[in-house]
């Protein structure tokens, strides 16, 4: 009898051995995370920064033991700033069984590609700010920055109370990001009783802003609000300086980004913007990020680098909260979640997510002085983070 038991145990062992081994292997296999980022084309500045931010976070997380003991395997793919490419790559990310997808950063690309990740029920983080991204009832979409409908009212209040402008000219880029921003801003300005004196649309990748700036000057508005992507913002600032524009130049996030300051040179001085994230913020965890990023990449991160970095730490925090690598559970757990910087310094600021995937946290008003962003005010979250 003993002999039979021994044989049966041996057979069972042989049969279950591979299964157990596979299970152990799955437990230890890397977690696949895919980045769909703009590494070339008009969004190269934004996408490269976002990607670098994610990579830095992945490197740190892996060095400290990974997530739930598993390493992250991060692969980034170049969308070439083209929505069709982004959509095709989203499908590829699904084929590669991505746990989470990071990007694209450009709203226009994200709006197209998010349909694919939604179908596969994979959480998808974006650096895009277009308001309509989170208004389509997609439960797998999460932001790494403010939505325009959150940011613009803050800025409109600043324009009314501090700049004391009664009229304003808007220069915006004619893509999903720009249109969304222009519409949100126009609504917010109207609520503050500020009149739009000139509504100037420009093209993505536009190189010559002479006519746009002349339109702004002709409008005789009290200030100009510039809402374009990074390179175009730099060109607009250069043209404003070239034509001797001497009224307040105001923007939202991109206008005073590090890359814009670098490209615009002295022309960036004096520009004011509301920014969700800036490496010049006083918080110690942001200072630490700034140092680490500069040590890794030899340049200063812009807000997109911070979005990618903090987004990756949100992935770590929520995965550790649910204690398993499960895309669907992850998405459910992130809605309504709050992550504190004291627990996860990588999220940079205390942050909370609502039911739509929009986030809320502190933000900053900055002014460019001497080629650097100077934080002039810290604005509280819309709703206090509990």
């Amino acid at each position: 009898m003993k002999k039979i038991n021994l044989i049966m145990a041996g057979v069972l062992g042989l049969a279950l051995g591979p299964i157990t081994a596979t299970a152990c292997f799955a437990q230890q296999a890397p977690i696949p995370i895919v980045g769909l980022v703009e590494l070339s084309g008009t969004g190269a500045t934004a996408g490269t920064n976002f990607d670098n931010g994610v990579r830095l976070a992945v490197k740190e997380i892996n060095a400290s033991g990974g997530i739930l003991g598993r390493q992250i395997q991060y692969t980034s793919m170049d969308t070439q700033s083209a929505p069709q490419t982004a959509k095709a790559l989203a499908q590829k990310a699904i084929d590669e069984k991505a746990y989470v997808v990071m990007g694209p950063v450009f709203s226009g690309s994200f709006i197209v590609s998010m349909a694919e990740t939604k179908r596969a029920e994979i959480p998808n983080f974006t650096g895009g700010e277009a308001a309509n991204i989170t208004q389509q009832g997609n439960p797998y979409v999460f932001r790494t920055s403010f939505t325009q409908s959150t940011a613009m009212p803050k800025l409109a209040r600043y324009i009314k109370d501090t700049v004391k402008a009664k009229t304003i000219a808007i220069v915006w880029v004619n893509n999903d990001f720009g249109k969304g921003g222009r519409d949100s801003m126009a609504k917010a300005l109207e609520a503050q009783g500020i009149k739009v004196a000139a509504d100037v649309s420009t093209d993505p990748g536009q190189v010559d802003f002479s006519a746009a700036v002349l339109k702004v000057k002709q409008s005789n508005a009290d200030a100009v609000f510039v809402y374009t992507n990074e390179e175009e913002s730099a060109r607009a600032l250069r043209e404003l300086k070239k034509q001797g524009y001497d009224k307040p130049i105001i923007g939202e996030t991109t206008l005073t980004g590090q890359k814009v300051i670098e490209l615009a040179g002295e022309a960036a001085n004096g520009a004011v913007a509301h920014v969700g994230l800036t490496v010049d913020a006083p918080q110690p965890q942001i200072k630490a990020f700034d140092q680490k990023f500069q040590a890794e990449y030899k340049y200063k991160s812009d807000h997109n680098g911070m979005k990618g970095y903090s987004g990756m730490y949100v992935v770590k925090a929520i995965t550790e909260k649910i204690r398993k690598v499960d895309s669907k559970e992850f998405a459910k757990a992130l809605h309504g979640a709050t992550i504190r910087a004291k627990d996860y310094p990588g999220v940079l600021l205390d942050v909370s997510f609502d039911a739509n995937g929009d986030l809320d946290r502190e933000s900053f008003l900055v002014k460019v002085e001497g080629g650097k962003q100077v934080v002039t005010a810290t604005l509280p979250p819309i709703s206090p983070i509990k």
Partner: protein, 292 residues
């Protein structure tokens, strides 16, 4: 009225840069029957070369410019002619057009992958600030661009019209066989044209990059507009390239300011279509007859 004048001056400055590139198109076409669709990339490459000499080698801009002229003459002039134009031109224009299109894509991808896909800043050689002429305010950059491009263009015209070498180059452009019978070294004259085109591209890069920013795809727009300008003015006339360039620059500015900036980028194409339909030889071009 002041706005209109400002727009015309600033448009002429931009147009002068288009004209420099368009001149390259017409010179190459006249001397060797070459249509170079990598002309825009011939502006982009010198921009990155100058940045390399300034940022990496730590040289001042003027020295970087001179060194870039030398490198461009070797790379975009001599090598381009020997490696691509000479072997292909005997098979007709079409293979060369396709080859230069390929070259354009290849160079862009090479810079994107090997240097950077991100835009890089490039300082202007002219000071910031505005020149006030009564109510008229013009930036030093526009004035400087206009003057420098004007000097280059006038100098080139004088070289072509008043020197023996220039006239020999024109003779080659008009009739290669007759020029050869007259004892002109045709191959050398054609090479000179390629070298001049390379230098014009470097000057265009110097003037346009502070506005366009140095980026792998910066040549797309300028190359296309220079091509339109050359066709509009007359592909077989250097004066035509000037007229075409300035016309495109000024009309773009006026359209952007008085109609909408959204239509600005389409102006050159519209003008190009009108000219192709009603005056296919270009505004200053001469009708060429061909035996069939």
């Amino acid at each position: 009225m002041v706005d209109l004048l400002q727009l015309i001056i600033s448009g002429t400055a931009t147009g002068a840069i288009y004209a420099l590139c368009a001149l390259g198109f017409t010179l190459l076409w006249q001397a060797s029957g070459t249509i170079n669709f990598a002309q825009g990339e011939f502006v982009m490459v010198p921009a990155f070369l100058m940045l390399f000499f300034i940022n990496t080698a730590g040289l001042p801009l003027w020295l970087a410019f001179l060194l870039t002229c030398l490198v461009a003459m070797v790379l975009l002039g001599y090598t381009f002619k020997r490696a691509m134009v000479d072997p292909l031109i005997r098979h007709g224009v079409i293979p060369l057009v396709i080859a230069t299109l390929g070259l354009s894509i290849g160079v862009k991808q090479l810079v994107k992958a090997g240097v950077t896909a991100q835009a890089q800043p490039f300082n202007s050689i002219f000071p910031d600030g505005l020149l006030s002429l009564g109510p008229l305010k013009v930036s030093y950059m526009d004035v400087g661009t206009l003057v420098l491009a004007g000097v280059i263009v006038v100098g080139l015209q004088m070289f072509l019209n008043r020197t023996v070498t220039g006239r020999a180059m024109q003779a080659v452009a008009q009739n290669t066989d007759s020029a050869r019978v007259l004892g002109i070294n045709v191959a050398r004259m054609v090479l000179y044209t390629f070298l001049i085109n390379a230098v014009l591209s470097v000057v265009a890069a110097l003037l346009v990059t502070p506005t366009y920013l140095a980026k792998f795809d910066m040549g797309e727009s300028i190359g296309l507009k220079a091509f339109y300008a050359a066709i509009i003015g007359g592909f077989n006339q250097t004066r035509g390239a000037l007229l075409g360039g300035v016309l495109v620059g000024v009309l773009e500015n006026l359209t952007g300011a008085y109609i909408s900036p959204a239509y600005k980028e389409g102006v050159a194409l519209m003008l190009f279509l009108v000219v192709i339909i009603f005056k296919p030889e270009g505004l200053l071009g001469k009708t060429e007859e061909r035996k069939v």
